[in-house]
């Protein structure tokens, strides 16, 4: 720690007078908590495996750390227009270096000079640049550098964004203490999160919906769209947790989709057996997702039999 109450300013000392003992107790309770940067990285499954496991375990046990892991909400910083331009220029400059013939093949030059193959290589290079020129600032038409795409399983379940819809219980929600029968506070509170989701701002959607989760524990839309948003963000454990919560609510309108997206999340978590069990259940039960679930079961079986 770099500061304590002896370093507070006057406003803080006066404002927190009488609460010092509680604040001390809070600090003692959380003195071994991981720093915020580790918590946030673990939330996105972006840590090396050993550290990921330790921090994830801590997050699941600590509401305080979950708060930090969720970040600063609507106030999340972004890039200014200037910063976007600067970053794009940097990317294009790097891309230009990679595609520049002399740079990309420079390391081969001594070998080629020594072996007497220069003429043949030059001819081949000339032909290749004539047939596939690289436009300045545009995407490469030929791949000169063999880049590795992110590692993904050989077969991935289709993951499409479901449209926003609302269950009957939410549409007719009045709350226990509502005095105005025409108001629906749940719908009003859902709007920012669902608007963000519609605009594909999944980080904002996740934040907005997370805030509502404890306030409206019976509204299935909250954990469902939270789960989908987390899937888009790549937070697979978080998606599974949210979809589990949605499933527990037991809303028949969402049941089929919850089950499908839960299978998607299970597969992306590496739990192929769990995904397959869910898909088999959807496949045999029939309904909206049955056909694609049956197809997926088949494809998973093929991949399992022929992993390469």
């Amino acid at each position: 720690m770099t500061t304590d109450r002896h370093h507070w300013d006057r406003e803080e000392r006066e404002g927190l007078a009488g609460l010092e003992a509680q604040l001390d107790a809070m600090q003692r309770r959380h003195r071994n908590d991981p720093p915020i940067e580790l918590l946030r990285a673990a939330q996105a499954d972006a840590l090396p495996s050993d550290l990921q496991a330790a921090v994830s375990e801590h997050i699941s046990a600590s509401a305080m750390s979950r708060t930090l892991a969720d970040g600063v909400g609507d106030d999340a910083p972004s890039l200014s227009a200037d910063e976007q331009h600067r970053l794009l220029a940097r990317i294009m400059k790097e891309a230009g270096k990679e595609h520049a013939p002399s740079g990309a093949w420079g390391w081969l030059r001594p070998v080629l000079l020594g072996s007497g193959i220069v003429a043949a290589a030059s001819l081949a290079w000339t032909l290749s640049t004539k047939t596939g020129p690289v436009e300045r600032g545009g995407p490469p038409e030929t791949q000169i550098v063999a880049a590795q795409p992110p590692a993904v399983p050989a077969f991935l379940l289709p993951f499409e964004k479901p449209d926003v819809r609302l269950g009957v219980s939410s549409l007719t929600w009045r709350g226990s203490a509502a005095t105005n029968a025409s108001s629906n506070q749940l719908l009003a509170d859902l709007k920012p999160g669902l608007d963000a989701y519609r605009q594909s701002d999944y980080a904002a959607a996740n934040r907005e919906l997370t805030v509502l989760a404890t306030r409206y524990p019976g509204a299935v839309e909250i954990p469902f769209y939270q789960g989908i948003s987390r899937l888009f963000l790549g937070d697979v454990p978080g998606a599974i947790a949210a979809l589990d919560a949605a499933e527990r609510i037991g809303d028949a309108t969402f049941a089929a989709d919850i089950s499908w997206y839960r299978a998607v999340a299970e597969q992306r978590s590496g739990n192929m057996a769990g995904a397959r069990a869910r898909l088999e259940s959807i496949c045999t039960a029939g309904g909206a997702n049955a056909t694609r679930a049956c197809t997926a079961v088949e494809q998973i079986a093929k991949v399992t039999a022929n992993p390469h």
Binding site: T3, M26, D45, P48, T67, Q143
Partner: protein, 154 residues
């Protein structure tokens, strides 16, 4: 089919915010964002654009893991982070976590300031907020805290 620049403009904010969340430092987040779009540029002909932005986020996550691995070598992180050592949370902690009056940003600023003991500039560096924003959020949250806990105004 969108051009590279169109895809960049469409996804750069989301990719950057995600990178900032996994690295915690603005300059590292810019590096990760740059690497992700460079990977997209290299693979542009082969990429299925319907996989975006997930594909970019996966690149960021993989690069972030490498970055954290290097940090682990340079800095020893505890391998086990104990849960709260005292079973009973004081009332102020329960209020901090549960109060509907607080926005997420207030909670984060309060926790970093009064639990993790950070200065305002340290909070700003870790959240991407400005110091002025941090100060404002803390002042507002302190007002709510005083009201909730009956602390007398000075």
């Amino acid at each position: 089919m969108a051009t590279f620049e169109e895809l960049y403009r469409q996804h750069v904010q989301a990719v950057f915010r995600f990178a900032l969340s996994v690295a915690g430092k603005r300059e590292v987040a810019e590096d990760l964002t740059s690497e992700a779009f460079l990977a997209l540029h290299r693979n542009f002909a082969a990429i299925d654009q319907s996989q975006l932005p997930g594909w970019l986020l996966t690149v960021v996550r993989n690069r972030a893991r490498d970055w954290w691995r290097r940090q682990m070598v340079e800095r020893r992180y505890a391998e086990h982070f104990a849960a709260a050592s005292e079973p009973e949370a004081p009332p102020v902690e329960r209020w901090l976590l549960d109060s509907a009056d607080l926005k997420q940003v207030h909670r984060v600023c309060l926790v970093l300031r009064y639990v993790h003991g950070m200065t305002r500039s340290e909070i700003a560096a870790r959240t991407g907020l400005t110091e002025m924003q941090v100060k404002g959020h803390l002042q507002y949250a302190l007002t709510l805290l005083r009201k909730a806990h009956g602390v007398q105004e000075a």
